[in-house]
């Protein structure tokens, strides 16, 4: 397949994943703003940070205000990391790789773009927000469903998966990066209800609040939440899960093309690093430092993949 096409499929699924992740972030922020209005400004600021959009937002707005942040993150055409922009980019990439995807996948992403675009054509009122966010999640699930149900398990599929999990790993890492301090053992906060809300928010932003409850019952501790999000191989948005999936898919490419690239060694290094690391040692090393390292590892991995498979030249 063409290098450009591999890149297009990779980015199509990265953007699709991104749109869903941003919708989830907003959902979590919206919830905390409703339940704890006093912390809402702080919460929206951290949502902007996580989305990597704070600077762009502040360039256009004086204050951090829930309605403005939501509008900026959901439907602002000039914000490259808004849900609207992400879905548009996913669809543009799908057009670019139209010959590599099935009609079902194309129609799903086209439908996603049309229906979300229609829902976002006017400012979203608070009372409609939950519905709009769920539409976004639903539509991207349709695309993923079409991918699983109709695509050959070949290199195209592998690049789609690698893009998905790179974006997801990056997203979970960003959430942890912005919120790591909530998970640090601190005398001041222990046992306070603020912690509980904050922890709940983190779990909610990765759609993991129920899964966590199943696994850990009612006991939330910062350490077990961190472990859940970083190391738990059952949790589909944990760092370990995502990088293992990336490794699997890169291995399929290795077998298919009968060629091993530097990206294979790199992803293997990242996976091994997480596998051999109990959560205590992460805390010892420093949660924030670990997340910072991870983010840059993932970024370098993405660049290596681009190069190894000639996305651009």
């Amino acid at each position: 397949m063409l290098g450009k096409t591999a890149g297009g499929v990779f980015w199509m699924f990265r953007y699709l994943e991104r749109s869903e992740n941003i919708a989830r972030l907003i959902e979590a922020g919206f919830r905390i703003a409703l339940t704890r209005p006093d912390t809402s400004e702080e919460e929206w600021t951290s949502v902007l940070d996580t989305a990597g959009a704070r600077e762009a937002y502040m360039a256009r707005h004086e204050t951090v205000d829930g309605t403005a942040v939501i509008d900026f993150l959901v439907r602002d055409k000039d914000n490259p990391s808004s849900v609207y922009s992400a879905i548009k980019m996913a669809r543009d990439n799908a057009r670019l790789v139209r010959t590599a995807i099935t009609r079902e996948v194309w129609e799903a992403v086209n439908e996603c773009w049309m229906s979300v675009g229609a829902a976002l054509s006017r400012p979203v009122r608070d009372r409609d927000l939950p519905q709009v966010l769920s539409l976004i999640r639903q539509q991207s699930a349709f695309v993923r469903g079409a991918l699983h149900g109709t695509m050959l398990r070949n290199d195209v599929y592998d690049f789609a998966r690698v893009g998905t999990f790179l974006e997801r790993a990056d997203n979970t890492a960003r959430i942890l990066d912005v919120k790591y301090y909530v998970l640090l053992p601190s005398i001041r906060h222990i046992g306070s209800s603020l912690d509980n809300v904050q922890w709940e928010t983190i779990l909610r932003s990765v759609g993991g609040q129920r899964a966590y409850r199943w696994l850990h019952g009612g006991d939330s501790t910062p350490k077990s939440i961190a472990e859940f999000l970083i190391l738990d191989g059952r949790m589909p948005r944990s760092l370990a899960f995502c990088v293992n999936k990336i490794e699997d898919n890169l291995k399929y490419l290795e077998a298919d093309y009968e060629t091993r690239h530097p990206s294979h060694d790199r992803v293997h290094g990242i996976c091994t690093g997480l596998r051999l690391r109990p959560i205590d040692s992460i805390f010892e090393y420093g949660l924030h430092e670990m997340i910072t390292d991870f983010k840059s590892d993932i970024q370098e991995l993405a660049m290596q993949i681009e190069k190894d498979y000639r996305f651009y030249g």
Binding site: T99, W106, E107, M114, L253
Partner: protein
């Protein structure tokens, strides 16, 4: 339906009396519920939107993707009508290929004085770089879309030869697909010749034109200017249906005397390139140096026989509107036969006598730019306002060589389904022709374009035209 006696209606011979080819359809249509048909028609639009069959409109603020409106009343031709048309088209396309070979080699037709030398030498569509070059299989126009109009039961005219990169074939295919999905019962009742194997035939035809250095299973790629091009949907569609690669200029480069595409596993040579990029942009080293759409060095590879480019560079000299007026001569010169299809009488405004005639009769004529296409920059005299006429008069006087003029033809009509029921609208027809060394292959039917505005003679999609499914009946 009320018919207009000035125009030949292909469905209604007289009000409520269907012509033979349309009889079965008309029976079906009359017995069906018009409300249901209208709902179906809305469904069709939804279907097109969902599948993303769109075209981009130039000159709009947001590079919008638009749908080309689709009308559910088919345009129907009898097998006998079609066989005459297809013979005429084949004759014309063969003549065009012979003409191109001649123009780029010995130029017998110029020596014989049948076509003026200046018309070729001073024509921007003539590429001196092609002189002495023989394309693989000596095929120049691998794909042709001959535009035809009809003025009576047995009167067809060729309007344009479209020998460069004709578009619209994806609509021909999707229109049929849509009709099959919406009205399966109709196709059970009426036997219509297939069009759906066009992509397969295109692929075969292109493979048959592969250069000598090609592998046993030639690698075919479609070269597109990219997703912002107005016909991108079609480029992707054809590549997909043919099982060919869809490439852009920056995916390609010259390697070891071949054109190679950048794959995830390194560079891989291409044998045949179906390019949907104009000559001018094909090779920045040979033509427009600013072009980002082409492949630097592709012309050298081409001249050395390392790749087939379809259509060949320089074919524009055959479908230029100034050359058009010589087509009867050209057909006769190369085939020794009388043209089967008529040419529209054409006034070349570069000739002083013709110019003064055109200026005197502007309100009755259609004036076209010699190098224009897509209905842009065209004047339809009978429909023009006084102001438009006087503006065009100025343009004509300033650059007469830039224009040709033709009588306004009484284009045939085929009804469309409107809110008020059936209503006649003017149509044209673009059959698609595939040329390979041993074969001229014409898909039965083609794309019928229809002017949706009452009375309008302009069918171009960029000017508010729509399309219809086109049926050629089985014998």
């Amino acid at each position: 339906m009320e018919t207009d006696p000035r125009f030949f209606d292909e469905l209604f011979e007289r009000p409520d009396q269907a012509r033979r080819p349309y009889e079965d359809f008309h029976d079906w249509f009359s017995s069906d519920d018009i409300g249901r048909l209208r709902r179906k028609s809305a469904e069709a639009e939804e279907f097109f939107r969902r599948t993303g069959i769109t075209f981009n409109v130039y000159g709009q603020d947001e590079a919008d993707e638009r749908l080309i409106p689709f009308d559910i009343v088919p345009r129907i031709l009898a097998a006998r009508e079609w066989s005459k048309l297809s013979r005429g088209i084949e004759q014309r396309v063969r003549a065009i290929n012979a003409f191109l070979y001649d123009i780029y080699h010995r130029q017998e037709i110029l020596r014989a004085g049948r076509v003026p030398v200046d018309l070729i030498a001073k024509n921007a569509a003539f590429l001196p770089q092609m002189l002495g070059v023989s394309p693989p299989g000596e095929v120049y126009t691998h794909i042709v879309g001959t535009d035809l109009v009809r003025t009576g039961p047995d009167e067809f005219y060729v309007l344009e030869d479209n020998a460069r990169t004709p578009s619209g074939v994806s609509y021909m295919l999707e229109n049929r697909e849509t009709m099959l999905q919406m009205f399966p019962e109709l196709f059970a009742k009426i036997k219509v010749q297939q069009v759906s194997d066009y992509p397969k035939r295109l692929r075969k035809s292109l493979e048959a034109c592969a250069p000598d250095c090609a592998s046993a299973k030639p690698l075919v790629a479609v070269l597109t200017p990219g997703i912002h091009n107005s016909a991108y949907y079609e480029h992707a569609f054809l590549a997909d249906q043919m099982g060919a690669e869809l490439v852009e200029g920056h995916d390609l480069r010259v390697t070891d005397g071949r054109i190679a595409m950048r794959t995830t596993q390194g560079y891989k040579p291409i044998d045949v390139i179906y390019r949907r990029v104009d000559d001018e942009y094909l090779d920045p080293l040979t033509f427009n140096p600013d072009s980002m759409l082409g492949v630097p060095g592709i012309m050298d590879v081409y001249r050395a026989g390392g790749i087939t480019i379809a259509n060949a560079p320089g074919t524009g000299i055959a479908d230029d509107k100034a050359i058009y007026s010589y087509m009867p001569e050209i057909v006769n010169f190369y085939t020794g036969e009388k043209p089967i299809l008529q040419n529209v009488p054409t006034h070349r405004c570069s000739e002083p006598e013709a110019l003064s005639y055109v200026l005197d009769n502007l309100a009755e004529l259609v004036v076209k730019e010699v190098h224009g296409s897509g209905g842009y920059g065209m004047l339809v005299g009978p429909a023009a306002s006084k102001r438009e006429l006087s503006e065009f008069r100025k343009k004509l006087k300033a650059r007469p060589e830039n224009y040709i003029a033709q009588p306004t033809l009484a284009l045939s009509t085929v009804p469309i389904l409107t809110k008020a029921g059936l209503a006649p609208r003017h149509v044209d027809l673009r059959p698609f022709v595939l040329v390979s060394p041993r074969k001229v292959d014409i898909t039965p039917g083609g794309l019928t374009r229809v002017a949706l505005k009452k009375g309008s003679l302009v069918v171009n999609s960029s000017q508010g035209g729509g399309t219809k499914d086109t049926w050629v009946l089985e014998e």
